[in-house]
Amino acid sequence: MKNKLSILLLSLIVLLGAFLYFYKISSIPSSVYDDEATIGYNAYSILTTFKDEYGKFLPIAFRFFGAYTPPLYVYLTTPLVKLFGVTAFSIRFLSAISTIFGILIVYFFINDFKVFKNQSTKIIGSLLFTILPWTVFNARLGYEVTLGYIVFAAASLFLWRSIKNQKISLLAIFLFSISTYIAHTERYLVPIFLFVFLVIFRKSIFIKKNKTNLWLSLLIIIVTQVPNLFLVTTKAFWVKNSSINNHLSILFSDLISQILIYFSPKTLFGVTPDINLQHSIPNQSFFYSWMVIPYFIGLYQLYKNFKKPEIKYLLILFLTAPIPGSLSGHFISVQRVLTLTIPMILIISLGIDFISQKIRSIVFVPILTLLISFSLILLWRGYFIFLPQERATWWSYGYGQLSQIITQNQDKKFIIDNGRTGSIYMLILYYTKHSPQSLQTQFSPEFIKNYYSNPSFNPNYNFGNIEIRPISWEHDALQNVIIVGDPLAISDKQANEHCLTKEFEIKDPIGKIVLTGYQTNPQKKISGVCK
């Protein structure tokens, strides 16, 4: 009976998760971000030509903007593009569906860890994971980081189970290895995590009856890591760890200060310090602020039960999670520490488990219900109301509308300024669904030959009736073109100076101008009548 109730409640939580992750997924966030567009366009390119945007046949790392992103997310998105077209839905679908599996992973982790005393904690923990701002935000993203951390979490769940049932270790190792082909974070985290795990649990792992499994695991790693072993010899593998090139003392100091920031309650429960506002929800951090109390109680439980194997395992997950993010060289990049989500929710669940044993249900249940209801209201407010409006420009709003204008005016030439954002070309390619075959002709065989050794990228493009580059006033004002730029690219003074006529304005949802298109008047410019 209890099991049936658990299954029913878990099903309801999964339904809630499905609603939160899929509701208006195509329109919230309000437009497709550059990284999402590049996934979508490259999936489209693979679907139609078996080559990426540059013309590389089935790459083992996608060059994109010089990031050399692991390839699996693009390949898994390709059949979705076939089914749903080159749309925000097809790009974001994988993240949403994988996060639903994340709910089950949290449930089974709590179920398996004997330190949890209250049977309801697995339901509460799964529910809290489902409604976290960090979970919802990343579930609706159309790039690889979410799938990466979910597959890593699944692998770590199976690895934990393999301590008692060695056969599952092969599945765990396989999933760990696969996760390194999904996102950069896992490339660094998996070896660090596995190394620490083998050291701490060596007495359970390195035993005679486990010998065959250990050899098979090694074989799986070697076979599945062949593409990565090739990449290690190229520049493509090392693009996301600029800190490692620093002097040792600077590296250590940077590592420590970044780890402190990631673990700080202000970062986790207050306001995220990530300066890229595309990575966060307005007025929300990773977790709800009230969770700081069960978090500290959970830390106390870690201290009290330190010698228990579940706690040791949880500590390994918790302490290794921010290392890849700290090595990336970025100040703070919350998407590189997504693997912190699962251990954090387990620690918070430990705290809630402790509280539920000390407080009577008649008090605990209404308080928890009130907190969860309030959290859902804050989530609705921050994510579904404010984010699509306040953060629209951070999500590259406006290029969809611009692409429509370009498509409707094929007889006109457009010059789009990219002085501040080098990835604009991808948004235009994505929205106009420009032919990948045509784009690939722009890259020489030499370029393709050195595909993995060429991380610098040129953001200037010329295709169809579009040129994407910084504006050159000496030349552009003398051509018959439409010049497009943001308010910083083309001021009113410049428009008057070069005899430009405003053709269109694109505004964001709160009425701020994001892009303006101006028609040049070469005759007037040459005759010198401009003000």
Partner: protein
């Protein structure tokens, strides 16, 4: 200089209370912490919970316009009601108090922070209830007045030093209150 000496003296008294659990140390600890709280309060510009600044008012109006018609009532409650404004400001002050980067030096933090946490957990195990209340007093003060001051969280320093030192004392030498 005088603040440094006072901090060292207060840390020693609190540490003395943690290891001996004697009443005289308890009374002295509370007295000294209250002095710190008064100094902290005098050096801080308190958070204004009842009046919004011009920037806050503009932000409030902009936010209200973002709500759909069906959500306007809830938007009014969340953005305009004094209770909501007070709640969100208290929440911010409370979370800011828990910032691990309150200390200016990273290495100082990385050494003291784990020791401090272990010291707090140990005092929970040793049922040092009054010492935990002592820890909550500065947190309560910062939650109410905020962090707008030039000297930093000086009232927290003696507590952090005392707990950090306390964490290094083996439990077998400490008397359990229970």
């Amino acid at each position: 200089m005088s603040m440094s000496l006072l901090t060292i003296f207060t840390s020693s008294i609190i540490f003395g209370f943690l290891i001996t659990n004697k009443k005289k140390f308890l009374v002295l600890s509370y007295g000294l912490i209250f002095i710190f709280l008064i100094i902290q309060y005098n050096q801080t510009t308190p958070t204004n919970f009842f009046n919004l600044s011009e920037i806050e008012k503009i932000g409030q109006i902009n936010r209200l316009h973002q709500y759909p018609p069906s959500g306007y009532r809830l938007g009014h409650i969340l953005e305009e009601r004094p209770e909501s404004i007070i709640f969100f400001k208290l929440e911010k002050n409370f979370i800011d108090t828990l910032d691990f980067l309150l200390f200016p030096n990273v290495f100082f933090t990385i050494i003291l922070l784990p020791l401090f946490l272990v010291g707090v957990f140990k005092s929970i195990d040793q049922y040092r209830i009054f010492s935990l209340i002592l820890l909550c007093l500065p947190i309560l003060l910062f939650t109410i007045i905020g962090h707008q001051n030039s000297s930093g969280p000086i009232c927290l320093y003696p507590i952090i030093f005392a707990y950090s030192l306390y964490s290094l004392i083996p439990s077998k030498f400490l008397k359990n209150e229970k």
